[in-house]
Amino acid sequence: MANTPLAAGPSGAKPKPFITPQRAVVYTVLIVCAIFFLFPLYIMVITSLKNIQEIQSGNIFIPTMHPTFDAWEKAWNSACTGLYCEGIKVGFWNSIKITVPSTIVSIIVASLTGYSMANWPFKFSEVFFTILLLSSFIPYVVMIYPLVIITRELGIYSTLPAVVLVHTIFGLPLLTLLFRNYFASLPQELFKAARVDGAGYWQIFFQVFAPMSVPIFTVAVILQVTGIWNDFLFGVIYAGPTNYPMTVQLNNIVNSAQGGKAYNVDMAATILTGLVPLAIYFFSGKYFVRGIAAGAVKG
């Protein structure tokens, strides 16, 4: 076996060979899998930098010698969705308009409910908890009809408020559980001490709990923003054509074959759509993992 000795200084107990057969296997598996996971990202990026002749004549694996951002520019500004040719930027702004209010409203409602359930239990709050838990598993598609009826009766079907309302509603069960579990895990002495000092419901929430809960609020924001940004179904049903979010616009751009398929533009639009959640993922690091893990395990 080609064992290279450890080059570093003589710290530690027992000199160990740098590469053992086991470690070689471990790293091989890890690297092969890493290539599989990175491969589509690589393809997306190099395709978006090619021009259309290179795509038709060239090889999907081989990057272009003359990278150009033309496809990105076209995807953002002038790609056709079937209805009009204003690019995916329309979808981007729509997604912002949908994501921001739904995230804020759902987090306010969920944090208050979670706080009530954890610290001010009332009759049936345990039953309520179970219903919440089960609700977060109900497939969205099953709820389409009831929500069409509700939004239609409210007179907002196929508008921006409708899609915001639906996203808010569907974010609530999971978020409430998240907040409830977090608040329940805080030391109860804090709560009791504040009570003894005469603080009431709102005071304890805003002056004692909220300042301690920055991590959980961060996790909730990440959970909601990525979830809502990535949604397709609710956008296509409730938003109405003028408010289609980015995912729906992307789908329309890719599926509209006006004047031949422009795969470089499609891939540029695809990257642009993935960019916001990816940026959140890369910059929030451990919070993202905690967010999806906590949310998923509890929900």
């Binding site: 598996v29 795509i55 409602v109 009332f122 598609v141 509603i169 069960p173 992307l250 695809t270 999806i292």
Partner: protein, 317 residues
């Protein structure tokens, strides 16, 4: 002095929880009950719940009969080979497609996720980098995942074209255009998106195992791989159940990925229940509602292991 009315105890708490209570009861409970109830009627346009509409339109299980007789939902002709006693079923349709996807996604993403987690647990270098690479697809929308993989797997320009151009002329990879194979193409994309998350769950589970277990196993001279399989794996049962439920529930509701990757095609050979429900919205409401109910039942079945675990915990305490 009057004793305070119990209704007004913790009044603020009740007021703050009120919107949520209304939403949960009105939308989640109400919506589910509405869907199930009206799946037994012949309604054509969306009604608001009135008992009279329900009684007038009641048709029993007629929608379900039509649903399971429709080839788009499920068709399982028995294939008999001439001269052979044995015969087999080859099921097609939305429901069998979903089950195929669910079984493969569960098996592959859980085994691959566990393998990766074990590898990551070997005190490796650059753990953070590997974790980031495995997990980033999970941040993406299924629509994004679907379109990327559709491009990669496109027989015209994708992998197949590239391999043939590089000299491997017999290479063939046209799964997304092949009725028999298209579901496996969707599984590949689903695995790519979801395995990193399974790995993260499993790794958290592995890290949660007491160091003393490892020490004891080492003292007893048990090799590491056997410790993983015979000691650690059984101890990770709660994590496994959670992972199973999450992957399986994701598979039951699969929709966006199929829409982006194949849009149910070729033909309707990769249709799934969610897409079926959505497509029958206007034309075939009764069937759509009964399909929704079937989906709810599937979801309940998937939740059984997890509910047993939760219930078991309570009865022990």
């Amino acid at each position: 002095m009057n004793r305070p009315n119990p209704l007004f105890r913790n009044l603020n708490s009740k007021i703050a929880s009120l919107p949520m209570m209304l939403i949960v009861l009105g939308v989640f409970v109400g919506g589910t009950v509405w869907t199930v109830l009206f799946s037994f009627t012949n309604i054509k346009i969306l009604p608001i719940f009135t008992p009279k509409q329900w009684i007038d339109g009641f048709v029993g299980f007629a929608n379900y009969k039509r649903l399971f007789n429709s080839d788009r939902w499920m068709s399982c002709p028995a294939i008999t080979k001439i001269g052979q006693e044995s015969w087999q079923f080859k099921c097609t349709g939305a429901m069998p497609n979903m089950i195929t996807y669910a079984i493969l996604a569960i098996i592959i993403s859980i085994s691959l996720g566990f393998l990766l987690a074990v590898m990551m647990d070997q005190k490796i270098r650059l753990e953070g980098m590997f974790r980031t690479i495995y997990l980033y697809p999970f941040a993406l929308s299924f629509i994004v995942t679907g379109h990327v993989w559709a491009w990669i797997m496109s027989p015209e320009y994708g992998l197949q074209h590239a391999m043939r151009e590089l000299g491997w002329t017999s290479f063939s990879f046209g799964w997304i255009a092949d009725r028999q194979m298209v579901m496996y193409a969707i599984v590949i994309a689903g695995i790519w998106q979801g395995t990193g998350f399974v790995m993260a769950l499993m790794l958290a589970g592995l890290r949660g195992i007491d160091e003393d277990i490892w020490k004891a196993a080492r003292v007893d001279g048990i090799p590491a791989w056997r410790t993983y399989i015979q000691i650690v794996l059984p101890m990770m049962k709660p994590v496994m159940v959670t992972t199973f439920v999450l992957v399986a529930s994701g598979a039951v509701r699969i929709y966006d990925l199929v829409v982006a990757l194949t849009d149910g095609g070729p033909g309707i050979s990769s249709d799934v229940p969610s897409r079926y429900i959505y497509q029958n919205f206007s034309a075939n409401l009764g069937q759509s509602l009964s399909a929704s109910t079937v989906m709810l039942v599937s979801m309940a079945i998937v939740l059984i292991p997890w509910m047993r675990m939760e219930f078991g915990k309570k009865s022990q305490a």
